[in-house]
Point group: C2
Chain length 454, copies 2
């Protein structure tokens, strides 16, 4: 019986680790270039920190850790008799695995507020765990890569995040991403204008289908959802919402002129769009999308979402927005935050599909010294030693070959790991270096090998 | 009420993350230079993979994860009635947090044996969790940094690990470490010679106190532990066990000549010591220590332990050894392994005490552009943009100052984060760059700033 791992979790081979690290390092590098500082929080938090922060469904998906020792000692008899799992959990579990990076970050800010210099630009790249039903691209353990600023209401930060998305995806060579942007205040304005605040989600969901089902289809769906015909008429411009971002902003400004909040949203978005364009984007395009409403109950200003290049069919590869009261849940009021997140697993899939991993160096030796003769091992090991001191990944095959078969095994090792250079024999204290691909070989000193290989 | 984190866990500030990453990256770099490949395994494993692998005490210290949903549904009524925590655990928990990296690695090797090219040199740097009583330097969540080779019995690997320890600590600038080395077969030989296999631990523990309590004290302790006087006489040489490693090996060879296994151990150790010395060590010294017996029931050949430089009072900062049957627990027989581990947290404490973190760059901007005038913000942001494109960490203070107080706040920010360069005013499209330390300032173009700062 072969051992296995829990469903929804993954082992990563060295090739996968190398590719994932390439993405992580690129994101990290840009985060730091843009002035974000890393922090790390524990994998598990007190349950009281996490429970009730993600809604009922979220609470259910949080992995709880069983108390150590005789945990049933404190459990209530009645609860045990009733086999009431829900009630028992709080009595036998005090800790839970991190569900996202945002709540632990809020906890961190409140706990360490006296040591933090605000505005605080932090990034955090750590795994999170969710007891979700596993499926393609959805795991029970996965990484989040978040950058947030707290303690500043400046719109320049919102501009910066557009630039940051563009910088990361350009560095990853993922060209042609679309950074969709919206503003919660515009959505509120629309709700105000159509006179149906409670129908906002229905409205954006329907509007989002414009490409697929056409104007008539969208209107039919809106009517079915109970949005009044007069309301739908008021937002006519949204059905022909094309042109540049400026055109769209002008249309919105006219449409939302009666709404104070909507007008504010248009102004904010105009600032972000104008300045992002002034600064220029490398490979991404910025697209005002009024149907963008992710985390509606959470965001209060800018809303971002990044779509993969059109040739790859996959959901969003990043998202974020502004939330005016991040730390309120832990008693620290009026701290505005804005942040974005990168979806590591989806970015990995996109890069795989686009063939962008070819240049990622795999962790393997550049030169392998074959070990065919015990008497030469030390001399070869000294050469390996010198190569390493010069930064060249070199290795002596550990076991000396005592038969033809064992020699073949070493050559097979070279093949399987696709090692570029091999040293076989020694003559006059020089090493026979063979290029595995071209089959060329020459007798060289260690210094000559270093020069050739570097 | 301030929020808190579970005892034994830690938040890491950006300074701490930067310092820890400096250590991690140094270890990683050497691991890869020596031909080790990274793998990663899930944070939690099936309980059946972990339970019973670390002894009874280990089982107790493993963090168990509560099953999701109505987990009591499957629980046995009698067990609930008896409040039998031990028995209930298996019924309500199927997963557990990783306790070390070795067992998951063994599981990985067996599970992926058909995809692995042996000998397999893997490294793994990931956190582990233990429900241990927290104390200074002991945490419930901490990192392990392991490098192992499986599928080779070559003594060259044992030589390599001595070199690897030396390489890492030299790169970290932790000079004067002592790599203690021993061999399980020598310990077996000693047990054979003293005719008391079951007293081996008592024997090494007593012998280890030679420096502190002298020969008479050690002998007294051995007698008290029931080791025969005749036996103690046979190992007289160990009481004057000084000189070079070769001297010690000669003394051992004579003493253990009647033991086949002991003689084999001396030969193996002689190979490792001779070749390590031939290859040379940068800053560490290699010391044959027959009292070294860590993980006695586990190791079968070489045993390593690294002691910090003498000026720092702290336990071992690394350890490892050879185990002949790593994967046997998962049904794959006869796979020899040898590996070492680095103790991140203790290395951190050593480096802190030796003041070795001073040169570790903190993640902060090199230049801060003050934001005193709304009309200049875009121009400054464009400069920031260009600096970043040239790899310079630059930032615009996000919020524009609308009062003297707010201007002071920006200067305070520069102070608190110890930012080296500040740009205040713009004149003729040039930027006034001020060195925070020398107070010198000059009017420069962006390109001139790049040249000065690089």
């Amino acid at each position: 019986m072969k051992p296995s791992i829990p469903k929804g979790t993954r082992d990563f081979s060295s090739t996968e680790v190398a590719r994932r690290n390439f993405i992580f390092n690129t994101i990290k590098h840009s985060f730091e270039l843009f002035g974000f500082q890393p922090i790390e929080t524990p994998s598990f938090e007190n349950s009281s920190t996490l429970m009730g922060k993600y809604g009922e469904e979220g609470d259910r998906l949080i992995f709880k850790i069983l108390n150590s020792g005789d945990y049933l000692n404190k459990a209530n008899d009645k609860v045990l008799e009733d086999k009431d799992s829900n009630k028992l959990t709080a009595q036998i579990s005090e800790k839970a695995l991190r569900y996202d990076l945002t709540v632990p970050f809020a906890r961190y800010v409140v706990q360490h507020q006296n040591d933090i210099t605000f505005p605080f630009k932090r990034y955090q790249i750590q795994p999170v765990w969710r007891a979700d039903k596993p499926q393609k691209g959805r795991y029970r353990e996965f990484y989040q890569c978040d950058a947030d600023v707290v303690g500043s209401t400046s719109l320049w930060q919102e501009v910066e995040f557009v630039k940051l998305y563009d910088a990361v995806f350009s560095k990853l060579n993922v060209k042609g991403t679309t950074i969709k942007i919206n503003n919660r205040k515009i959505l509120s304005g629309i709700a105000e204008v159509i006179g149906a605040k409670d129908k906002l989600i229905d409205f954006t969901v329907a509007l989002d289908k414009l490409d697929k089902i056409g104007k008539d289809g969208v209107v039919a769906e809106m009517l079915a959802k109970g949005i009044a015909e007069t309301a739908i008429e008021k937002v006519q411009p949204l059905f022909e919402f094309t042109g540049t971002n400026e055109d769209k902003l002008d249309a919105l400004a006219a449409m939302l002129s009666t709404s104070e909040e909507g007008t504010k949203g248009v102004e904010e978005l105009r600032f972000v769009v104008y300045n992002a364009q002034e600064l220029g984007l490398e490979t991404a395009s910025l697209d005002l999308d009024v149907t963008l409403a992710r985390g509606l109950n959470y965001y209060t200003g800018a809303i971002y979402e990044v779509a993969a290049p059109k040739e790859v069919k996959i959901g969003s590869i990043g998202g974020g927005g502004r939330y005016d009261d991040l730390t309120g849940i832990f008693g620290m009021k009026d701290v505005s935050g804005v942040g974005i997140s990168f979806g590591l697993d989806r970015i990995y899939l996109v890069m795989e599909e686009l063939g962008l991993f070819e240049d990622v160096a795999l962790p393997k030796p550049k030169v392998l010294f074959l070990n065919f003769n015990e008497n030469e091992s030390l001399l070869k090991m000294k050469a390996v030693n010198e190569l390493r001191a010069n930064g060249v990944k070199a290795e002596l095959y550990p076991d000396v070959a005592k038969s033809n078969n064992q020699q073949k095994k070493q050559w097979k090792y070279v093949d399987k790991r696709a090692i570029e250079f091999v040293v076989s024999d020694i003559e006059d204290n020089k090493f026979m270096l063979k290029n595995s691909e071209t089959r060329e070989q020459q007798l060289l000193t260690v210094n000559e090998i270093i020069n050739i290989i570097h």
